[in-house]
Amino acid sequence: MIGYAMAITKASAGVPAVPAAEAIMAPELSWAGLILLLPLLSLILCGLCAAAKVTSKLPAVITATALAGAFVTSVFLYLNYQPPGDVIPLLDWMNISWGDGQFESFSANFALYIDSLSLLWIMFVTGLGTLITIYASEYMEPDLGKGYSRFFAGVSVFLFAMAALVLSDNLLMLYLGWEGVGFASYWLIGYYYQRPAAVAAAKKAFIVNRIGDLGLALAVYLIWTTFGTVQYDELMTVLEDGDYRAAFEGWTVSAIPFLLMLAAFGKSAQLPLYVWLPDAMEGPTPVSALIHAATMVTAGIYLVARTYPLFLLEPVSLHVVAWVGGLTALLAATIGMAQYDIKRIMAYSTVSQLGYMFLGLGVLTTYGAAYHVFTHAFFKAVLFLTCGAIMHGFAGQLDLRHLSGLRHMRGWRITAWTMFIGCLCLAGFPFTSGYFSKDAILAEAFVTQGPGFEILGWIAIFTAGLTAYYTFRVWFRVCAGPVAYEPGDELHGEDDHGGEFHPHAPRLAINGVLVLIALGALVAAVPYFMSNTADEHLAGGWVADMVHDSTAREGIPGFHGDAHAGHGDAHPTIFGADPHVAMYWISGTVGMIGLLFAAWLHLWRRSQADAIKAWLLHRAWIGWLPRAMERKWYVDEVYHALIRAPLWILGHILYAFDRFIIDGLLVDSVARIPRGVARCLQPLQSGAVQAMAIVMVGGAAIILLLMALFMQFGWFGGQA
């Protein structure tokens, strides 16, 4: 890429850092630091609010203002940036050089890398962050004066870390942000720290993520040892010039993408590390919407997209990414079909959609992946937020068997219909945003050649049908049908009207945000039709442009041009048509089938759904399937048996070793020696002065006698 040349004195030249003064091309971009600064400021102010025991909605106002400021800044940056972007130095962090060679310097500064990919990400992160904070200002009302400041401080930490992750110009700062979002996620999942389930979920999320973080730490280290830099622009220059080829034969080039993949799979909840995400639903719903659906979990996609050239060096890694993504999508969708907790269904749906995104990355459409991230952020946020509104209004009721007919209830119509919009997008209903973004991935699965990619494509299409089914299962059960509901077990004082339960409908903040994000989910289809400015041969509109201008575009000039061989000459077809065109029809049809199936079972013939399920459960040849789906394929149990139980046993063995061998045999027995000696000599300490004096005199006499004897025999070297 042309722009990487900027300020880069090629890694081999040995000048470590980007010289601060000459780096900035467009002075307007230097406002980028505000995106990090504002959430930090908001964190400090929220901390002060907590210290001052503020009982008003001040923390929410502060956070929303700060995040809105960050959003405005990022839009301003987008309007002022020119491809291929720029590096904005903030302050020096690590800048070490011990020679002039390629591997004799290390620099990782707090500097921001403003290119189209980071701008795309930061715009929806801060935008949705602002809206969800406004939503949370009403949602968290019952905690006013108690955890309110703590909650918004957590949101501020998250936005700060996420901005650092997305905007950093080197992998070390990305790692810092990566750990930061993990910590914020832990903080917010465990928000209700008095509930054991929430504490356990927070721990699980943190520990499972640590496994991925290990991969990222190792990857950063190996990238430095292999390419001599961790800064993106230098890294791309090295890749472009082929300077790395001296090390190309080394195993590290192949290992790096797999380690990065491990990190991405941990953060973005893919097989085999997805188990933390469904449990993370113990956090407050705005957190689920913001962190565990729209933004943080897409950090894995961002990481892979950002380091895409490294993946292209090892094509097998992309095949693995594609297969893991596809299988996760299928597995999570089957689990989601059989759950009853609507928030958990949405969680599995998130895992499933993230699987689609990885599938997109694996089949060489970073554009499709990024576009699906973009649309998914909106429609999944609205789905979670509607679930939250329902949970809030019905005293924690999330079971779709105990909720029905919301769209007929006064005050719930906005919730019901914004949820409907979210469901349409998620199900990939024709001409919604999810339809276009999912099709971009599905079509590419048939276009790109790889091991079994065609099978993978059909798996993904089948999963799209399942997605439509489970999505509308929720909507038809909860929002359609006759009005019927039972309250959950978290009654607030305000719900109790003389023993009779009245759900309290959401008010302005929640409804307003729901409408805005639902509109966003619809409008997210528009970029698909915007004209391409970067490359006229490119399809896919604005998002494709954004991806094309960044490091995430497919292929590096002069190398691995053949990675995209499938595109030009031998374009595969489905049913004799171009997959890009055929997919509109296929996925639309599959989505409609899923939708109609859901409507039949859960709207028109609800009683038959139970009958069918009972029939299935009593047939030995098929009965295991719904049972396994409802029990989440026993993945938690398997992990428990394979990992937790052995570790538990090992821990107890080590405990016993420590307790009895180390403590008992070594430490305690050594301590017992002086105690025993003391116990022997204790009687001498009678307290009678004369008795003690006799002992002393006797002792002195014995010593003198011995000395005299020794001297006599010359043992002291004295005169014999």
């Binding site: 009678s686 009678a688 002065v689 004369q690 004096a693 005199v697």
Partner: protein, 109 residues
């Protein structure tokens, strides 16, 4: 003079040390045998004097005045210590109105 000193002190060092040893033995014997606090204290003083005598003797034997200088120091310290010890004895006597050392065995703790 050196020769005279040698010939004279050759015999007297043994005498001096003998005197010191006898004084010390009397002190120890008194300290061990008596129960009266004041007498016990006087016996420790006696042991002190035995050491002083030995120092003077050695100082003369080596023709080195450090021994006699130390004697002055030790006498000063002993005087101060005597004041302290007697004050302690007075206090102890006020508590129990006895001077018997056996009545203070609980101080072993």
């Amino acid at each position: 003079m050196l020769l005279a000193a040698e010939s004279m002190t050759q015999a007297s060092l043994a005498h001096v040390l003998l005197l010191a040893g006898v004084l010390f033995a009397i002190g120890i014997a008194g300290f061990l045998a008596r129960r009266n606090l004041i007498v016990m204290f006087l016996c420790t003083e006696l042991m002190f004097q035995a050491v002083i005598v030995a120092m003077v003797g050695f100082g003369r034997w080596y023709w080195d005045f450090s021994g006699q200088v130390f004697v002055i120091f030790i006498l000063t310290v002993a005087a101060a210590e005597a004041a302290l010890a007697l004050a302690l004895v007075v206090l102890l006597h006020r508590r129990r109105s006895t001077l018997d050392a056996e009545s203070w065995t609980e101080l072993r703790e």
